[in-house]
């Protein structure tokens, strides 16, 4: 598809260049036609035709140039997008690693804390009396209920 598009673009560019060249050549030739008998009557139509050809050619040359400028800009932008996608992937990987490491550290801290509870708090079980309503309050807070 890209090849066909590129080929059509090249053919169109060639036609536009030819339009300008043929127009200019015809216009110059119209000065000589004037001097040649029998075909001198074609001088004016040739000049008008070539003028139109030059005008159209120059217009399409401008269009081609404009298109090329845009294509260059698009190519630059596409390259930037590609780089940004790579940056985005790298940032994602880095963040995932950071998240996993932090979660792992939290779990390790939890293990240490649970061990400390076993060592330091379990012995208080026989001394501490649970006031009524404490568990219910804590569970309601955990469930976010009134």
């Amino acid at each position: 598809m890209f090849f066909i598009s590129s080929l059509l673009h090249s053919i169109w560019a060639l036609i536009v260049h030819l339009m300008v060249l043929v127009g200019m050549a015809g216009y110059v030739a119209s000065y000589f036609v004037k001097t040649i008998p029998f075909i001198t009557q074609y001088n004016l139509p040739l000049r008008i035709g070539c003028s139109i050809l030059i005008i159209l050619g120059v217009f399409f040359e401008g269009s081609l140039h404009n298109e090329n400028v845009w294509k260059e800009r698009v190519a630059i932008l596409e390259e930037k997008v590609k780089v940004s996608q790579q940056q985005s992937d790298d940032a994602n990987k880095e963040l995932q690693k950071l998240l996993e490491d932090s979660t792992q550290k939290t779990k390790e801290v939890q293990i240490v804390i649970q061990d400390r509870i076993v060592k330091e708090i379990v012995k208080l079980d026989s001394v501490c009396v649970m006031p009524p309503g404490v568990i219910s309050i804590l569970n309601d807070a955990a469930r976010n209920r009134k």
Partner: protein
């Protein structure tokens, strides 16, 4: 006259070149789509103080994990926004 105008319009429009570059804000990665866990509840029948402390401490741990997820979300968004906006 109309035909000439139509031809002129077509000629002028050939100068309009639309060259869009499609860009999308990146999708959220799967590891950020995991919800925070619910808090653990204490067994209502327990009479042990240590059991209560264990559950409370575990819930603090769950909060810390959720905090990390939340911070990761904010970091992800800020980083991706910065990368996305750097392309102009």
């Amino acid at each position: 006259m109309k035909q000439i105008l139509m031809v002129l319009c077509l000629m002028v429009l050939t100068g309009c070149v639309t060259t869009p570059v499609e860009r999308k804000f990146p999708e959220v990665p799967d590891y950020l789509k995991i919800k925070c866990s619910d808090l653990i509840e204490i067994d209502p029948k327990t009479t042990k103080f240590s059991e209560v402390v264990k559950v409370v401490a575990a819930n603090y741990g769950l909060y810390q994990e959720c905090l990390i997820k939340s911070e990761s979300w904010i970091n992800w968004y800020n980083q991706q926004k910065q990368i996305f906006e750097s392309v102009k």
